[in-house]
């Protein structure tokens, strides 16, 4: 039997081309495996082979979504693959959304099995979990050794047409699919058993976890913007020069609150970004590109808005956990309310 033909998708970083300064490179096709493809190829143990690797910069992909998808699809198609693998993307947000988007279009257009791998908090998971098998990984490339065997095992199952079991057993992230199965014990018995376990304080596994709906209803619009106090918040990591509170470049454990009374313009001498994960050159040159203090000051003078709030709040969104972000914002939102802020502009890179 011929070897299963695999095409692999990775970003500029894992291809060893470069970090953020290279995130705008357009897609390219390379013969054979590149970077993490080597470990995947080895784990196939000869049953399958990575015939080609598509590499694309994360920023290029997300900023030119439709064009990038079409270009990449053509490259993949030209290799006549039997299987497509993207990532693992771990907790890299733009890489994760790229892996998800490419997998989805390959699945739809070429009709071959696709699989990717990410950390549960990667935004790519929520967008694509219903469409794809996403193998669950740790939050950094340090978990590559564990991710590769799981990814390969599931990929081979899919391409062989074998039945894929439940998420917990197969190591992928729940897709919200329900399947009818026959069990020895009927529902009422199982429910009572679970109830007893719960009362005893023992572990039990629900058969139907409640989905976590946590949408917040939009607040009413601002009636008169010319009287409103507007506050700025950013996940783009803008901080006073030299980052006095040492906000981490990724996986932030804190946020900053900075006084901009009398500041009319953020200059390269006074402000910079602490954010890793995107090319900081442009934000360091002129932080207004991320936090538009200059424009809002003008508008304040013109009477377009009532007032620009005296403080801005900032953190780095790069790999920062959902729990931390929630905690930060819940805390400073209280201050915004007590300071009489009428509306917030939140900018993200």
């Amino acid at each position: 039997m011929n070897k299963i033909r695999v095409v692999h998708y990775i970003n500029q970083f894992f291809a060893g081309i470069g970090g953020e300064e290279k995130a705008d490179i357009p897609p390219e096709l390379k013969e054979g495996f590149v970077g993490p493809g080597m470990a995947l190829n080895k784990a196939f143990k000869g049953e399958a082979e990575i015939v080609a690797t598509v590499i694309c910069g994360d920023s290029y992909f997300n900023e030119n979504l439709e064009k990038a998808k079409a270009e990449i699809l053509q490259m993949i198609k030209s290799q006549k693959p039997d299987l497509f693998i993207a990532g693992p993307a771990f907790n890299a947000g733009r890489y994760g959304t790229a892996c998800g988007a490419v997998c989805k279009i390959v699945k739809e257009e070429l009709g071959i099995p696709v699989v990717t791998a990410m950390y549960i908090e990667n935004p790519g998971v929520d967008i694509y979990r219903k469409d794809l098998h996403i193998v669950s990984t740790g939050n950094s490339a340090a978990s590559m050794r564990k991710a590769v065997p799981a990814l390969v095992k599931l990929a081979l199952k899919l391409v062989r047409g074998e039945e894929v079991g439940i998420p917990d057993k197969e190591g992928y992230i729940s897709r919200g699919i329900r399947k009818n199965v026959f069990l020895e014990k009927r529902g009422s018995t199982r429910a009572v058993e679970m109830m007893i376990s719960k009362l005893k304080g023992e572990k039990f596994l629900t058969e139907y976890p409640m989905p976590n709906f946590d949408n917040v209803e939009p607040n009413p619009a601002v009636k008169d913007i010319s009287k409103a106090k507007i506050a700025l918040v950013t996940s783009g990591g803008i901080v006073p020069k030299d980052n006095p509170n040492h906000i981490e470049s990724s996986s932030a454990s804190k946020y900053g609150k900075y006084d901009i009374e009398g500041v009319n313009d953020l200059t390269k001498e006074t402000y910079e970004t602490a954010h890793g994960g995107y090319d900081p050159v442009y934000a360091n040159e002129d932080s207004d590109r991320v936090l538009p203090v200059d424009v809002l000051r003008d508008m304040e003078k013109e009477g377009f808005i009532g007032k620009l709030h005296r403080y801005f709040y900032t953190t780095t969104g790069n790999g920062t956990s959902v729990d931390n972000s929630k905690k930060f914002a819940a805390e400073f939102a209280k201050e915004l309310v007590s300071d009489g802020v009428d509306a917030v502009i939140l900018t993200s890179t």
Partner: protein, 77 residues
Amino acid sequence: MVKEIERAGIPVVHICTVVPISLTVGANRIVPAIAIPYPLGDPTLEPTEEKKLRRKLVEKALKSLQTEVDGQTVFED
């Protein structure tokens, strides 16, 4: 963060480059930005032109804050 600010009762607009992420995060008012490393700028423009571009985006964001929305809304051009 957008959601926690909204939950606190303050209307909030999210200016961001990767709109699908903002939708997943649960922002209600979304204004698409220019690019990841410079959401409110464009280093290829002259400084005065660049500031005009930024002003346009901020005006759009302020307009979204003055618009009643029913669920998640992306304010395109």
